[in-house]
Amino acid sequence: PCALTGSPPQALVDDTEDVSLDFGSEEELALRKARIRHPLATFFHLFFRVSAIVTYLFCDWFSNSFVACFVTILLLLSFDFWSVKNVTGRLLVGLRWWNQIDEDGKSHWVFEAKRVPTIAASTEAEARIFWLGLIICPVIWTLFLFSTLFSLKLKWLALVIAGISLQSANLYGYIHCKLGGQKTISRVTSRLFGTAHVPQRQSRRISEDGTEDHGKTVPR
């Protein structure tokens, strides 16, 4: 337990929590102070994308075999798509999107945002890394597309198109989550029922939170 008298150090007051006289445990304070709370997720968010690009650029150095490069890059792109869609999105920025098919066979795209931030919520640094990684990589793959077309190395075309589609799908999904959509949205306070130990903070957070937000779509 730390003795906090007077005004708290600046590091405790960041954009996700406004806590003043809070005698949280050591781990909670360390977590709140950290600029990156999910180091592993941040690493993997960038690792697969950057490795795919690096492998594509330098495949001639790694191996003579077109097939090995193709399969490697394709697997990296697929792992990247899966991890960004299912893991790093919800850990780093609290957003998620998926496709749901209900009983009568209609398919719905659902975009969800975590409304109430918690102690382990993401920081600004993480969010910045997330969005930069999300935006820059499809742009790079589009450049590869043009270079493939103009240099007529068409055997790579299938791979580049796959790369563009997978990465832009994630980009589109997360932008859609972030901006809300035309679909009617009802607010979901997802963590509310799970974190009983911080009720006052939650309610204060919500009343101060004036940002546009969105939750699960209600299928009609």
């Binding site: 075999s65 919800r90 066979g105 799970g194 699960k216 209600v218």
Partner: protein, 217 residues
């Protein structure tokens, strides 16, 4: 989610009021916990879903797993393994059958997309990715046939091996077509079923042809 039909939250409800509204009481529990579940759970859940679908392809009957919880991992793995087995030439040279590899890839994915578009244009109720999922997973019998053919070719390349390969490929082709038809034809109006089944037949026929005429260099 029929229970949510009467829950509508307009913009001018005071934000504090929403805290006490039991939103999503009819949603399955996992919709809340999956936003925060540990990564290992996510991985295991998806792996099990993929495995379940493979089983459903081998024993085709109308099941919701292939149709409702679609995923494209199975088709990717099958496509890559089939393309790897179908490549000609030696694996280490610069000109190592690269074009054939990409060709198989393109044929499978482009063919699946065209069949899906065809079935949607004919008024099918199934969604785009569901159809891709079913078509991709039903390539599994043909991948098994390819494996068997390669093994048979290791032994010898004469008439007997050709007959064995022919029988295996025809059997697996029938299996694939029947499996995918069982899933896809139901979503069409009755007088259009043949129009939907024919492209599927053609698709698996082309793949079977590639498998049957494969000769290692």
């Amino acid at each position: 989610f029929p229970g949510l039909a009467d829950v509508s939250i307009s913009q001018d409800i005071p934000v504090e009021g929403e805290i006490t509204v039991p939103v999503g009481s009819h949603s399955p529990d996992e919709d809340y916990s999956t936003l925060d579940e540990p990564v290992k759970d996510t991985i295991m859940r998806d792996l099990k879903a993929v495995g379940k679908k493979f089983v459903h392809v081998m024993y085709p009957r109308k099941s919701s797993a292939l149709l409702r919880d679609w995923d494209l991992w199975g088709p990717l793995v099958l496509c890559v393994s089939l393309a790897l087995m179908l490549q000609g030439g030696s694996a280490d040279s610069k000109d190592d059958g690269g074009p054939q590899f990409a060709e198989v890839f393109v044929i499978i994915w482009f063919g699946a997309v065209v069949i899906t578009l065809n079935s949607k244009l004919l008024g099918g109720t199934i969604s785009f990715f569901q159809s891709l999922c079913v078509l991709g997973y039903c390539v599994l019998p043909l991948t098994v046939a390819m494996l068997v053919c390669r093994l048979v070719l290791l032994v010898g390349a004469g008439t007997i091996s050709f007959i064995i390969r022919l029988i295996v490929v025809v059997a697996m082709f029938g299996w694939s077509t029947l499996a995918s038809t069982a899933f896809l034809a139901d979503s069409q109006p009755p007088n259009r079923k043949a129009l939907v089944v024919y492209p599927i037949f053609l698709f698996y026929f082309v793949i079977s042809w590639m498998i049957l005429t494969f000769t290692p260099q």
